[in-house]
Assembly symmetry: C2
Homo-oligomer: 189 residues x 2
Amino acid sequence: MKQVPIGVSARHIHLSVEHIEQLFGKGYELQVMKELSQPGQFAAAETVAVIGPKGKFDKVRILGPARGKTQLEVSRTDAFTLGLNPPVRESGHIEGTPGCTLEGPAGKIELTQGVIVAARHIHFHTEDAAKWGIADKQMLTVKVEGERSLVFEQVVARVSDQYALDMHIDTDEANAAGVKTGDTAIILA
Amino acid sequence: MKQVPIGVSARHIHLSVEHIEQLFGKGYELQVMKELSQPGQFAAAETVAVIGPKGKFDKVRILGPARGKTQLEVSRTDAFTLGLNPPVRESGHIEGTPGCTLEGPAGKIELTQGVIVAARHIHFHTEDAAKWGIADKQMLTVKVEGERSLVFEQVVARVSDQYALDMHIDTDEANAAGVKTGDTAIILA
């Protein structure tokens, strides 16, 4: 049985170096609060305010390290709160997505794009993927057991020797399935 | 193919006659704002404030007519906002569930129970159920197509000659599946 640990992603933001400096000051570096399941990735001590046309979140966690492009990942529920209509996208694919306003201690940024609802996906280390015969970008069907048991279709496989086995879903998906971080999913096909 | 229209339930409350009077005044009757898909059910013009240990919603829609017992239906996301941990329950089964505070123009109520996350379900008119060989209380497996396509298991069939065909899911479930009211689900088994 192909069992995968579940990691629930709450709303969070990845920032470019340029945007970190605009929000926190010249030469600023993010502080590591907590290591994440993916090697090298961390939850930063810092948060930013995110403002949309209809609502705001005062403290959105920054995930580090800095990336090439700033990207805000929200659930559909969060998107309604902000008053935005972001598409479901894989990480890094932000062309044509809506923007929002970011506010940090040192400044404010009007993003013109970068807000997405993250497509559910599973990170596989190359060895896990090889063992199970799973290819990068393959679409998987994954079951979650329990009183709200669900079968997720359209789950993207992402394979790299930089990854650790983990299924990432957002809070809407976790709540709909009645699961939390650390629960287990089963790849059906 | 057993196709069923989807109705997405946002957070809402059903009130007892006694509680309507405590919140709105002696002899008060709810005003019909909009008829719902189930015959005789309506969204009332009135809303109440709902207050939990950690947060509040200023305007929660009342659904009428009055019921025997007051029942607040929220998504898991809403429950986190309020700071409550309600169980997933079928409508009417509120024993042992948490309470909350309700506030209306004429008064305030400390509910000792009544907050649930509604179990997903399909209302069938007796004739639809007979045609498809579905029994009241049967657990169904139901697919929703789209870019976030999902298979919902543990979907309760509710059969009555008072019901119209409609699948009720909450906003977390709708967002996880990327669907909205009026979209279509397919009963697989």
